[in-house]
């Protein structure tokens, strides 16, 4: 191979430089958040994550109500969206006529493009009055947030599960059909078991989305920093408290505590997404 020409070298170096923006930004992001939240970790230590008091006036901060709210609302969302999404994906991949499946899939993809503030708007003016009519004392609350989140992650679960189901080898399915199995029996005995790890990956990826979702949750969760076992009661989430309080943070300690919550949120989503990618990469390797 001949030596690289000067023009080629320059080109390669410059595109490599643009690519470098991404790891640089990721490192700068982590460093900035760690720096801005340092005083919180110093003052409260790791107990910041499991104490309950959030009092910006007295500068006492504990993040547990927000961690709880984020976890519970996201799990509720998955509880609703996973069966719906997997069911929809099974229908779209295995059972529906192709033209209908394409059309429905298109709608699902567009649903993923709906901005979350618009889902929040639907939440405030449709879901909250509906929950009130159904007997929820406030209308807003953990359950309402979980429902809205379910609609946010539904298209992801459906789309990824569908991709996974499409990788099931035809001969496996055809062998089942040859034995006289019904369509559903093929889905249950071949397609779903074969796709298990991929579907779990899809669930984790959606969990990552749900954990970090801000606007739709902020608008309907009730924004009350306390822990209550009743799902009808208002709660708070990590992303919501940042969105609500950061612009008006009165003291440096308050600001630092909010950034500390952001750092925690980032760490959690990285772990969840990492797990999801591991599961989905393994699938890709299988081809």
């Amino acid at each position: 191979m001949t030596a690289e020409r000067a023009g080629d070298r320059l080109f390669r170096m410059s595109v490599a430089g643009f690519a470098g923006v991404v790891p640089l930004a990721a490192a700068a992001l982590a460093w900035q958040l760690a720096r801005e939240s340092a005083s919180t970790w110093k003052t409260f230590g790791p107990a910041f994550l499991w104490t309950l008091t959030w009092d910006p006036v007295a500068d006492v901060f504990g993040a547990l109500p927000f961690l709880y709210g984020t976890a519970v609302s996201s799990l509720l969302a998955l509880l609703i969206a996973v069966p719906l999404g997997v069911g929809a994906a099974v229908f779209l991949t295995e059972l529906a006529p192709k033209r209908l499946a394409d059309l429905l899939m298109f709608a699902v993809e567009l649903l993923a493009a709906v901005p979350s503030v618009i889902l929040g708007l639907m939440g405030i003016f449709i879901l909250v009055p509906l929950m009130r009519a159904l007997g929820s004392p406030y209308g807003v609350g953990m359950l309402t947030a979980g429902l809205i989140l379910a609609f946010m992650v539904l298209p992801y679960i459906t789309a990824i599960t569908r991709e996974v189901l499409l990788t099931v080898p035809r001969p496996l399915k055809e062998a089942m059909y040859a034995l006289g199995a019904t369509r559903w029996e093929v889905v249950r005995a071949v397609s779903l078991p074969f796709s298990r790890s991929g579907i779990v990956g899809a669930v984790f990826l959606s969990l990552g989305r749900a954990l970090g979702e801000t606007m739709a949750v902020t608008m309907v969760i009730g924004n009350t920093p306390r822990i209550s076992a009743a799902l009808h009661d208002p709660g708070y989430s990590m992303a919501a408290v940042i969105a609500n309080e950061l612009a008006e943070a009165a003291s440096d300690a308050h600001l630092s505590a909010l950034v500390a919550i952001g750092l925690t949120l980032m760490a959690v989503t990285i772990v969840v997404n990492g797990a999801a990618r591991l599961l989905l990469y393994r699938l890709e390797a299988r081809g």
Binding site: P83, F91, A107, L111, I118, L119, M122
Partner: protein, 278 residues
């Protein structure tokens, strides 16, 4: 006996068919419901005056959202002007030269950044620009949106460039064309449609982002004045109007949602339909 078993299996099959069909109907139907409701609620408040007037002072009826439309165009426009080229050029690197540790680090960082919630990216822009300058600004909002765009565009560009057959590169190289010219004038244009689609979809996505703008662009009830001052944006206006106590603002929130939805969906539809033929 055998007939009974077969009949039962047929019944289970039909039942599951109906159940999964219902799941699919809910997924796809919720889009129709959202669209229908927004059009129904928003259409009555959208008018020419709404599009070209500034908001009225708090408490007065009427007024428009021209400041938010201009603000969104500015903030999203700048983010796209910076984010799309950086993402595309980075994607060119990954696809054409991307082997080894450095490329692995770039891919890994892009996947991590794609998974980081947008509000955390907003915090980054806040710490980077708003906090040191001690002011909310359009610039900080654009920076946040650009950081969200870059990793998405990077990965989609890489994917589309990888679809270009190696034989096309080899044919051009065999003619004695320098490699950088092959990349810039043969490979990239071949994948041009796909690359542009990826960039457009990323732009549509960030134009609906609200969370990172709440404490960067912040919002403003007046006509914008420059890059270093707070600025109104469409999604943020929808948010503040929706949580306000005024009936009139609620109606305006629906109208603004209709405009935002129209923009986001038409970009999505255009990008997807345009990509289809290739």
């Amino acid at each position: 006996m055998n007939d009974a078993v077969y009949a039962r299996r047929r019944k289970v099959n039909a039942l599951m068919f109906a159940l999964t069909a219902a799941c699919a109907a809910v997924s796809a139907g919720s889009l129709l419901m959202i669209l229908g409701y927004i059009v129904w609620k928003g259409a009555s408040s959208v008018s020419w005056a709404f599009l070209v007037n500034l908001p009225k002072p708090v408490g007065e009826q009427g007024g428009g959202i021209v400041n938010a439309i201009v603000g969104s165009a500015k903030v999203v426009g700048l983010a796209g002007l910076v984010g799309a080229p950086v993402g595309v050029l980075g994607g060119v690197y990954l696809s054409e030269y991307g082997r080894g540790k450095y490329a692995f680090a770039v891919r890994y960082a892009a996947d991590v950044m794609n998974g980081v919630p947008s509000i955390v990216v907003g915090l980054f822009a806040y710490a980077l620009i708003v906090h040191p300058m001690k002011r909310f600004s359009a610039l900080a909002g654009s920076a946040a949106l650009a950081f969200i765009m870059i990793p998405t565009v990077l990965r989609s560009t890489e994917e589309f460039l990888r679809l270009v057959p190696g034989t096309i590169r080899e044919a051009a190289l065999a003619l004695g064309v320098p490699r950088w010219k092959v990349t810039a004038f043969v490979v990239v244009p071949t994948a041009g449609r796909g690359i542009l689609t990826g960039a457009l979809l990323a732009l549509a996505r960030v134009s609906g982002e609200t969370a990172p703008l709440v404490f960067t662009a912040f919002g403003n009830r007046f006509a914008d004045n420059g890059w270093l001052n707070p600025i109104a944006t469409l999604p943020h206006t929808i948010y503040t109007y929706a949580i306000s106590p005024y009936e009139d603002w609620h109606n305006q929130a629906w109208a603004a949602a209709l405009i935002l939805m129209f923009f986001v969906l038409s970009v999505n539809l255009a990008a997807r339909l345009w990509l289809k033929p290739s």
